[in-house]
Symmetry: C2
Subunit: 549 residues, 2 copies
């Protein structure tokens, strides 16, 4: 039996485009002699469709698309993922389903049993878990078909009380197929391979696994679909961050082999190289899927905006990126020069708009209220907010989308101005720690100097008051980032982090800053997620609460 | 047996204050001769504690608090709610538990089985559902103790496959106790009474129900704890929006009666009167629990900011409200006069800060880029954003919190400026339709004219260009609000709403505007929730997706 795995980029709610893409792959797979073509989880509507799933119209359109796809399945079978009504009287309204389609008809339906509901996942909000499981007979094979999380209830950390394959295995399948929507995090590919390998070797069955690729606002699906033989040996690893259809042979003894050349990676990509590709895809899909072409951002001469500008130029083309220098009276000469050098290196559009007259107008206007009170955070924020108003005015006049340039370290400790530099349609590096931003800058410069070296080596500064440096109010970033990671990703208490060897005063200060910034982060743009714990939908903290640490 | 129901206002994560409050109620109940005092769901840590629940330290502190409370339980028993570790090897890390404490010890634990995971609820994110149920013997009675949603799996709409009381009833209890965290929506009190009454009459048992009161950022818990006899007759309804401890007698035949006078409401409050009280509590708790005292807002002379100002003055005291008039060249004379009249009526602090010089500075600065392009949304938004920068500068200088004054109709169709009038720490009327804002204004004026009549009767306008009126670009609000409600609350398709009798062109336009505003709403402040479907955590729509209607 020849099986095609189709790893494609879907658009949430875009039934016409998703259906056309699926039908095109079916037709190509048929002409390439495939018996079965397998698509990813919820491919018909896109993942995650979130509260679209509460609209009956939406669910109806999923079924209409499935019927269109079924009509194409002559001389070839396919597996697609879609939400379907739960026909039992009890439980949630929907199932997260896979259709097995043969001869133009839905021959079997497999429903997902294990519904992830942690971090960025909300599947139990919509779906009723499956309680019945049946293998599918096809061309002399017996397929155990499961959906994503169904294979993730590990022996070490059993998050669920059931394990669907333990039931399916009793029906003596000879192959496992799993369709998935497993989002990228820089350390996720190895975990994914390890968990799926464990399944193949535990059940002694070959396993074909198809993942989504493509970005859906903050979530980036990285593809990397996998094929294992029945000993758990990795037979193939499909490309990351790109669409791909690959073909495999499954013989009568259930030996699986790749039909053409393998796409198996010979070399593991570094975390930073993966993050780089993920962000490029994230920016590109954000603009493409929302129907925009051109980005704007403020260039400070610092490393964060420089990195975002370079990433945007790569994702959208330099000709579609407008970089705006917005010097104030506190901007240093080198900042302006560094920003200009970057613009030259990239060849993007640029403008210089000095904000001096604007900030002076604010300060003059507020003089009666502020009287002779000293310059403080109020005036600092006026600068940052004036820049945001200018950038948003450019967006409104010319149709750009503003890119947010805050990094994860800043977003964590609230080192940013709400309605100022925290503005934007999408946060590009909001899940990248400052220490990783340096790595990313060096990676971007791997072949030639794109980001001016001076932007990388000079001490970071917000330049909102004379001679300001980030380290005036924050610890060094290599320490700061580890404390943040301990609290945000590790959910450690301050006592536990102090025990790791960090200074008590610094730990308490950093955690206090993180807690105080919850109200700011609530109002920031969606953040391209590249780590296992990003700010945004995956981390839901109270705003008005008493924090412990 | 004498039972005290304690309906108290907790603060999320504030273990010291919550524990002290619970212990104080236990001591008072004991001196009033109670045998048992019952507190609400998750009272020990506050509801919803959200991702605080992922911190081991937090769960540990819940148990420490419970032990302190237990130590006070001599000569009196109590029921408290708290998260506890799930001791089974499989499943989520926690249970949503109730401790029955007697003689200083935890005598029994009931875990919640039905975990709401819709709208604003995320309980399946943290908790493993209970599968075992036991009644509790106490002073000759057998108590069936359940937690909130456990009684909400209705016959008509069975959202869950089990019904805990169906199992407990087999053990022949003679009374039901349910502890809850059931947030306010203007139509929720009647639904709550009806569902609980059904339980009392179905199981033929008296039912004592304790709800939380108090606001937790956007969620407002309204109390209104209830007592039914074994025929489903409502014996008592505790007060709404305030703390209360009430006492009941349960005799040997399980007849329940109130010990002192009943708090049963004689008159049903109107929706608007309830919304009014809810918002007052919402503002007050937001400030009190976050440690702030003073609010600031921009007064336009229009009805929305006038209503918010009046609500804030009632919640915080007029002396703690700073109203700022921010006239531009498009502000009409009557707007300034109406705003001044309001300030006079309320007696709040006020400033007038004209933004003309600021907007001119922006326009002059942007002249090289904007050249001779016509005045459009870019310049309109500069006005709104300039006001926001001024208000935020006042916050930064003087420690105010900015109140957002957008109403639900505007928030729905995106009739507001991101980083402009959509700013604020909390949105006061973001879940109140414009048509309800008029009702609220009249309600506020029920005894004397607080909100100037002219602010109520004049045609609504954003005053961002000459002679602008809301109806230039939007349908009349009585039509607009019904279309929004159909789409947002009813999840109806455009076809279904058109079928209700609305003009097709208007329906399509309104729904398109709602969809286009998702990215704006993502970045707005938390909204005080007063309806069954508010924007914010209870409505999770894709940003980059293809919308249907």
């Amino acid at each position: 039996m020849k099986i095609a795995l189709a790893q494609l980029n879907y658009h949430i709610g875009n039934f016409d485009s998703n259906t056309a893409k699926i039908i095109d792959a079916i037709q190509k797979a048929r002409s390439n002699g495939a018996d079965l073509v397998v698509f990813a989880e919820l491919c018909v509507c896109g993942y995650p469709s979130r509260d679209f799933l509460e609209f009956e119209e939406f669910i109806g359109l999923c079924e209409i698309s499935a019927q269109k796809i079924a009509a194409e399945c002559t001389d070839i079978a396919c597996i697609i993922g879609l939400p379907t009504p739960n026909h039992r009287a009890e439980g949630k309204a929907l199932n997260n389903s896979a259709y097995f389609i043969e001869n133009g008809k839905v021959k079997a339906i497999a429903n997902k049993a294990l519904l992830p509901n942690y971090d960025i996942f909300d599947e139990y909000r919509y779906f009723e878990p499956a309680t019945e499981f049946s293998c599918i007979d096809f061309k002399g094979h017996k397929i155990a078909l499961t959906i994503c999380e169904d294979l993730w209830n590990t022996i070490e950390n059993p998050l669920y009380i059931t394990r669907p394959m333990d039931i399916l295995i009793q029906q003596k399948p000879d192959v496992m197929i799993n369709i998935a929507a497993s989002p990228f995090a820089y350390n996720h590919d190895e975990e994914r391979i390890s968990i799926l390998r464990d399944n193949a070797s535990r059940y002694k069955l070959p396993l074909l696994y198809v993942n989504n690729i493509g970005a859906q606002t903050e979530l980036i699906f990285d593809g990397g679909s996998l094929v294992f033989d029945n000993t758990g040996k990795l037979i193939d690893e499909m490309p990351y961050f790109e669409e791909c259809v690959a073909y495999y042979d499954l013989d009568d003894k259930s030996t699986v082999s790749f039909q053409h050349r393998s796409t198996l990676r010979t070399e593991k990509q570094s975390d930073i190289a993966q993050i780089h590709r993920a962000i490029i895809l994230g920016i590109r899909d954000y603009f493409y899927k929302s129907g925009f072409k051109q980005a704007i951002l403020g260039l400070s001469g610092g490393i964060d905006s420089a990195v975002v500008c370079a990433l945007a130029a790569e994702a959208l083309g330099a000709e579609n990126v407008m970089a705006v220098l917005l010097p104030s009276r506190f901007s240093s000469d080198h900042s302006i020069k560094d920003a200009e050098d970057l613009v030259k290196n990239l060849g993007c559009m640029h403008e210089t708009i000095a904000i001096k007259n604007i900030t002076e107008a604010f300060e003059t206007t507020l003089k009666p209220q502020f009287e002779n009170l000293p310059f403080n955070i109020a005036e600092e924020n006026i600068q940052s907010r004036s820049r945001a108003v200018v950038l948003m005015a450019m967006c409104n006049k010319f149709g750009y989308i503003l890119l947010n340039t805050s990094n994860k370290s800043e977003a964590a400790v609230g080192y940013g101005t709400l309605y100022g530099d925290m503005c934007g349609g999408i946060s590009v590096i909001g899940d990248v720690y400052k220490t990783q931003v340096f790595e990313l800058a060096n990676y971007i410069n791997r072949e030639r100097e794109i980001i001016p070296i001076n932007s990388i080596v000079k001490p970071p500064s917000a330049e909102l008051r004379p001679n300001q440096k980030d380290t005036d109010s924050l610890p060094e970033y290599d320490i700061l980032d580890k404390i943040i990671a301990g609290y945000v990703e590790g959910r450690c208490s301050s006592a536990e982090i102090i025990k790791m060897g960090y200074d008590e005063k610094i730990v308490r200060k950093v955690i206090r800053l993180i807690n105080l910034a919850e109200h700011k982060r609530y109002q920031t743009p969606p953040i391209l997620r590249v780590s296992p714990k990003a700010f945004g939908m995956g981390r839901r903290m109270p705003i008005v609460g008493k924090y412990l640490s």
